[in-house]
Symmetry: C2
Subunit: 119 residues, 2 copies
């Protein structure tokens, strides 16, 4: 807490001691990038609604579209985003594709966010 003037930043710093503290706990730059990418996926109300629907059950694309009152194509596009982010899994059965949450983590992140939103 008293080590001063260690140049971890490229520009002139006003409070070197505090900056050093801050720097010590920083995750790797690439982790922070992935973190932002993850939250970006959660940061759309259509996708959040899809994820909420999939808590505790699996649904086909048709059902999701019906529940959200949206067009099949829009849902399919968003499911692709969720799939790429590994937030949902799918299973094919004949013509229909069933989607479900990828793991419990997804539900936890939603719940934690809801806690904050509801104060």
């Amino acid at each position: 807490m008293k080590e001063q003037n260690i140049p971890i930043c490229t520009e002139q710093k006003i409070h070197p001691c505090e900056i050093e503290r801050a720097g010590q706990h920083m995750p790797a730059e690439e982790d922070l990038f992935s973190l932002a990418e993850l939250f970006k996926v959660f940061g759309d109300s259509t996708r959040v609604r899809i994820l909420s629907l999939l808590c505790d059950t699996e649904l086909c694309v048709c059902d999701i579209a019906a529940c959200l009152g949206m067009n099949l194509s829009a849902i399919s596009h968003q499911l692709r985003v969720l799939k790429q982010a590994k937030l949902v899994r799918f299973r094919k059965e004949g013509k229909t594709v069933y989607y479900s949450l990828a793991d419990a983590h997804v539900e936890h992140i939603l719940a934690q966010g809801l806690d904050h939103v509801r104060e």
Copy 2:
């Protein structure tokens, strides 16, 4: 769990039973909207980097800009977004403004996200 055909959706549903299960656990529409808004704020790497910097310490705008190698104005704009979302607090001391995390929730959400990102 066997109650079927209850019309909670406006369109024709393929699997009414599963749809009913999904519907029962859905948070209020407005909470889901706020939730997406919250994650949207976390969904930018500049903002995530600022929040990470502010874990365990407070920093002035100048310091944050120096640490991230970015222009003062860009940081100020993003701090405004974080302020509006109540993710950061600030304290004025003479000419300088010190920012810090609003509460422990913010750190928890970041940590939970990092867990998922690192698998």
